[in-house]
């Protein structure tokens, strides 16, 4: 066990691509935790998908040993944090395991919204925040301006802002010294009953659930009986250890230390991030604060293109859940799309990652319905139901008000784009909040926006309106009533459930027009005219027609052509297999995908 005065626990807060992973690699090298030969590029990001997207989905921790200028040996625990808006809760738990945070900003790009949001989380959690400007080796680097931005956020002087290049290693030694000097040591009570914070967990096929934890008070010993306080479960600490970064079993983990715990539990949802581990024999009376259940924010129906893949989809979801307790789903039946699952995600990125993994790692061909949020509808009997799918919305007669979730949105943009950003926000029913200049060139804008307005394409439009310079962060901010209606899309008079959407009354016409227009181009001509209508209740708000097919015959079929023609029609027939019958209308599978695709303009 290490003396608490020799321990420094810290996280790195940085935007995607601002060099967090590269810096982590440098720290591992400098402290001798990994030799260069062992060095894999960006060791802390283990999943392929993370590597490709350059983001960290699951936090990890690594124990570094550093001999400081004072001649003392220090243990530095670097706790990685997820870098995306969907994982705010996990970020907050990682931060809760630290005493300090390194705020890392790209010298060319400056502070981004998510970084700022996470920085505020760190400040709120009482962490010592050490500012640093990375990538000073870049030709476009502007460390002076970025330093003054950081000073504007954190106070202090520009001289206190570290300047480094994770790529070349410049400034890394000074960073290590600064961390030792400025991050406070832990101050847990070694004699109190054990309290350890679970800040991350993952499923290992051989070992079961592995959780990462930070011991706050007391001591965790191998083999002892432990209790997860929120889950209420008791297990044995089969193995405990440090990550150096390789797992290294130890007999005890003392106060202030960070390590892993294996209990033999196989189901990841039984061990939740934020839970407190205590001793079963000598339990703590109160758990560590801040635990909450993962709450899905965005919902989408996932349907296999080939109905026969339904069971495979279920199995794939179950496997994904082994590593992702926040993924929830329930079976859903669509008249148009058949059997599938309505899945709940923490946010948009989470949704995208899950879909991509299902398609890539499990080789599934999926149709996803338009993302929806959870609406709250009070029923006449006083109950309030949560509506996660437009199909479930009670008829207007059985409800009067609908509430929708809002989010607090923070946007950081160069000042020249304030106009376009305001325009976008207003178009998305935003309530304009504050405006805060980070520097003469960059401004932080705050809004409250219905979540439904940002789940589609808000981020894409924001990026295009600001030439990619704006960044965005959001967090839930409760429910508000709104004038929402359900728009149905009817093919030949029959509603197609997959295309129904709950939208604001002012946007209903636009949605209806867009969908009917798209479908007119996507639905092949049939034997009869097919009206495509958008309707609110019984009222038609938009209409298009796919005219009947009039010619479907090859000009010639003489002796030589029979085989060829049979093959041609056979191919066309195979194409028809990918059609879904909606009433009497044949709709190609691609039409569902294309019609529900988010606009890219």
């Amino acid at each position: 066990m290490t003396d608490q005065s020799r321990i420094r626990n810290f996280s790195i807060i940085a935007h995607i691509d601002h060099g967090k992973s590269t810096l982590a690699d440098r720290l591992l090298e400098r402290t001798g935790a990994v030799t260069e030969r062992e060095m894999r590029e960006q060791l802390l990001d283990t999943m392929d998908l993370e590597r490709e997207r350059g983001i960290t989905i699951k936090a990890q921790a690594v124990r570094l040993e550093h001999t400081a200028e004072d001649g003392q040996k220090y243990v530095l625990n670097l706790i990685d944090t997820p870098g995306h808006v969907d994982f705010t809760y996990e970020v907050s738990r990682s931060l809760a395991a630290c005493e300090g945070a390194l705020l890392l900003a790209d010298a060319a790009q400056g502070v981004q919204a998510q970084t700022l949001a996470n920085c505020y989380l760190a400040i709120d959690a009482g962490l010592e925040v050490v500012p640093a400007v990375n990538k000073i080796d870049l030709p476009a680097a502007n460390p002076d301006e970025v330093s003054s931005e950081l000073v504007g956020i954190l106070g202090g002087t520009p001289e206190e802002v570290l300047r480094l290049s994770a790529k070349t290693g410049e400034g890394v030694d000074r960073l290590l010294e600064t961390l030792v000097a400025r991050v406070p040591p832990p101050s847990g009570d070694p004699d109190a009953p054990l309290r350890a914070l679970v800040f991350d967990s993952y499923f290992d096929a051989y070992r079961g659930v592995v959780c990462y934890l930070r011991v706050v008070d007391g001591r965790l010993d191998t083999g002892e009986s432990i209790r997860f306080m929120a889950a209420g479960e008791v297990h044995d600490a089969t193995e405990i250890g440090f990550l150096t970064p390789k797992a290294k079993p130890v007999a005890s983990i003392g106060p202030g230390e960070v390590g892993y715990l294996i209990t033999g539990v196989k189901e990841i949802d039984r061990i939740r991030v934020g839970d407190t581990v205590t001793s079963a024999r000598r339990p703590a009376t109160t758990a560590l604060p801040g635990y909450s259940e993962p709450k899905p924010m965005v919902f989408s129906g996932l349907f296999p293109t080939d109905g026969d893949d339904f069971e495979r989809l279920r199995e794939a979801l179950e496997k994904l859940r082994l590593n992702d307790a926040s993924l929830v789903w329930e079976p859903e039946t669509s008249k148009a799309l058949g059997f599938g699952f309505r899945c709940g995600f923490l946010g948009l990125l989470h949704m995208e990652i899950v879909r991509e993994r299902l398609e890539r790692e499990y080789d599934l061909d999926l149709v996803a319905t338009a993302p929806s949020v959870a609406y709250r509808v009070p029923l006449p009997d006083g109950r309030v139901v949560e509506i996660r799918s437009p199909q479930d919305l009670p008829d207007p007669g059985e409800r009067d008000r609908i509430s929708e979730p809002y989010v607090k949105v923070m946007i950081i943009t160069p000042t020249e784009y304030v106009g376009p950003v305001m325009e976008l926000a207003t178009a998305r029913r935003a309530i304009v909040g504050g405006m805060n200049y980070l520097s003469p060139e960059r401004v932080e804008l705050d809004f409250e926006v219905p979540l439904a307005e940002i789940v589609f394409d808000f981020f894409d439009v924001l990026k295009s309106k600001t030439k990619g310079y704006a960044s965005l962060d959001y967090e839930p901010s409760g429910y508000r009533e709104a004038d929402l209606v359900k728009v149905d899309i009817l093919l030949n008079g029959q509603p197609v459930d997959a295309f129904s959407a709950i939208v604001h009354r002012d946007h209903a016409q636009e949605y209806g027009k867009r969908m009917t227009g798209r479908l007119r181009n996507l639905i092949p001509r049939q034997l009869f005219d097919v009206p495509i209508q958008a309707a609110i209740g019984g009222r038609i708000i938009s209409r298009e027609t796919v005219k009947a097919r009039r010619k479907d015959v090859t000009a010639k079929c003489y002796g030589g052509d029979i085989t060829r023609k049979k093959k041609l029609l056979q191919r066309q027939k195979e194409g028809k297999k990918r059609m879904k019958m909606v009433g009497s209308v044949e709709v190609p599978q691609e039409a569902f995908v294309a019609a529900l695709k988010v606009d890219e303009e």
Partner: protein
């Protein structure tokens, strides 16, 4: 023609002879054709004669069809040699229909007289249009005057049955242009007219042009043009007996009717298909490959398949349903009529059935019916060869 007469052609004997040579290749054509290879013509004629000689002798042929390519591009005497070879091998019935495809620009009275003397009695002229601009769009090398002259030459030269081919729906052709072409056609009083919707085939110059963004034929426009053709030709006493073919009574093309009745036929020449003893075969399409095989004494077959059971029944529908008189009931029609899709087709007026036959009443949607047939599982009771 009565349905039973048409169906009876299933037992007729027919032969197709492919002549691949052309003076130039039309941009829309995807047949096995060559241009600028006239030095190979004699070798080719000899090869076809050899192929005929290799063939198992059959009953006297009731119809022979020389198609192409441009058969009229070849010396009539050489065509006569091939006809003679067929006569020697199988015999040619005294009342046989012997058709030759010809281009208007290389057809005159002298040629016509020579051909009829050799035994040809039916001519099919590739007129395509009477509109100079449409002919130019189609890359044709003749003008309207050539067509009129060629029809007169055929009549004067003794052809008992004269047909012309037309193409409709060429981008650039107008309603009026098409109507004018139809009226010019009717004025020539031919015995038979084929009207084909211009089709964009992959790998042709037209196909490539369309891929690059050139206008493609509009199927709705083509549907309108088809309607106009049927109206004008019917008014002139020509009845439609197949999707793209109209004839005066008694002048229906017997060779094609044989194919559409699922009758058997010999196929000679490069790229030709034949159907004999339940075996459908195809010859090498490349001219050189065909010549090399035959000259080495080998069958020029590139592939073959036995057509039996459900496959044969599907074939019967594929060819038979294109005819205006449809097909007699069999396992295939039952399968269509009992299917959900068949019900939709009947409801949309695409097919009509009585106790005897199934008829496609909206011929421009024939392929929808055929796809429906293809989608049906083979009935369990369907034994080999009882179609």
């Amino acid at each position: 023609m009565r349905p039973d007469q048409a169906d009876a052609l299933a037992t007729a004997s027919a032969a197709y002879v492919h002549i691949p040579f052309c003076s130039a290749v039309c941009p829309y054509c995807d047949f096995a054709v060559v241009a600028g290879n006239d030095h190979l013509v004699r070798r080719y004629v000899d090869a076809v004669i050899s192929e005929v000689a290799m063939t198992e002798p059959w009953q006297p042929l009731e119809s022979v069809y020389f198609g192409g390519g441009t058969p009229s591009h070849v010396d009539p005497a050489w065509l006569g040699e091939i006809l003679e070879a067929l006569a020697r091998r199988h015999g040619i019935a005294s009342d046989a229909e012997v058709t030759l495809e010809a281009n208007p620009e290389d057809f005159d009275l002298a040629k016509a007289t020579e051909l009829t003397a050799l035994g040809f009695n039916r001519i099919s002229l590739g007129a395509q249009s009477f509109d100079e601009s449409v002919l130019a769009l189609l890359g044709r090398r003749h003008g309207p005057a050539h067509i009129t002259r060629a029809v007169s030459a055929a009549r004067d030269g003794g052809f008992g049955s004269v047909s012309i081919d037309l193409i409709y729906g060429t981008p650039g052709e107008s309603d009026n242009s098409w109507l004018a072409t139809l009226h010019e056609t009717v004025a020539l009083s031919t015995d038979h007219v084929s009207c084909y919707a211009l089709t964009v085939e992959r790998g042709t110059p037209l196909g490539r042009a369309v891929n690059r963004g050139a206008p493609a034929p509009d199927p709705d426009v083509q549907a309108d043009r088809f309607g106009a053709a049927d109206e004008v030709l019917r008014g002139a006493g020509l009845h439609r007996y197949e999707v793209s073919n109209w004839a005066r009574p008694g002048h229906e093309c017997r060779y094609n009717l044989t194919v559409w009745a699922q009758g058997e036929y010999l196929g000679h020449g490069n790229g030709a298909h034949g159907f004999r003893d339940g075996l459908r075969y195809r010859n090498h399409r490349r001219l050189e490959a065909y010549l090399e095989h035959v000259e080495a004494g080998r069958w020029p077959r590139a592939g073959e398949e036995t057509i039996e059971g459900w496959d044969a029944e599907l074939d019967r529908l594929f060819v038979g349903l294109r005819r205006s008189l449809g097909v007699a009931h069999g396992p295939g029609t039952t399968a269509i009529l009992e299917s959900v899709e068949g019900g939709r087709l009947a409801a949309a007026g695409v097919i009509t059935a009585d106790s005897e036959r199934l008829v496609v009443t909206r011929p421009l949607l024939t392929d929808a019916v055929l796809r429906c047939a293809l989608s049906q599982p083979a009935p369990i009771v369907m034994a080999d060869g009882d179609a």
